[in-house]
Amino acid sequence: MTMWMVVILAGIATFAMRFVFIALFKRIAVPPVLERGLRYVAPAVLAAITVPALVAPGHVWDPLNPFLPAALIGGVAAWRTKSIGAAIAVGLPALWIINWIA
């Protein structure tokens, strides 16, 4: 029963957080300060997800882990091609090779 309560309440809260501004900006204009800030949501969030995942996998500081060099190789592919698929197609085999050598 409690598991159901947690799932349903988390579902309602998550939907509310996803929908609130989509609902609100239909009625009010986006404040200019917020509009400026929104430009940086994607780079800021993406760095806040990616950098810790690569230098501290599993929340433990470990800059010598095999993910980091593999990600650098995948990152070069992404930079040259602007393609997610290329980053994966290059980065994942790079990880396999690094794990195989190490």
């Binding site: 409690t2 947690v6 780079p43 990616t50 997610i84």
Partner: protein, 229 residues
Amino acid sequence: MATESGIAMRGGFKAVSPILLGVIPFGLIFGASAAASDVDQLAAWASSFVIFAGASQLAIVEVMGSGGAAVTALFTAIIINSRHLMYSADMGRYTTRESLGRRAGIGYLLTDQAYLVSSTRFPKPDTSKGVIPYYFGAALTLWTTWQIVTTAGFFLGSVIPDSWSLEFAIPLTFLALLIIAVRTKPALVAAIAGGIVAVGAIDLPYGIGLMAGAVAGIAAGMISERWLA
């Protein structure tokens, strides 16, 4: 459906296809760990469409499965998912002409991948005509995949050998999106600040470091505009 939006929708589908390589093993892992835990099985399975946010679903199963308090599980899930407030604000700029039903659908389907992939498409609100069908193409693909793979993980276990390291496709996806998103100098400042603060906060509970990094990054980007833009 007008062909123009059909093409945009297919564009969204194509854009998320490579991302599924990381989403599939993550969904299998969620399903498998839910099935292996002590929690109400039907509720854990239902969380894939009731909540539809993988990291928070996994956190709930972990907290509840290890005998943690329901309030802790709920609070953790809300913290982890609070980043959606920012996605909602950005998406909200492009959805003002949509009906209530479609806006509710856009909100329900709002995930990291759907938002971040679509955000590569909308630098200018006036020229972003195809953004909404593009978003739906991406978001519905992710939703359908998530339902299938979490259910499969439930019954089959995680199936894919750990040694394939397919989950590594997730950070690679976000890294590629990061590289695509850094198009201006202030955006680079935002990314550097966001990354540094998030790493500094790795010891904080999951989700808080992400939000701290995001807020610091946005602030740094806005402040740096004065000198760099």
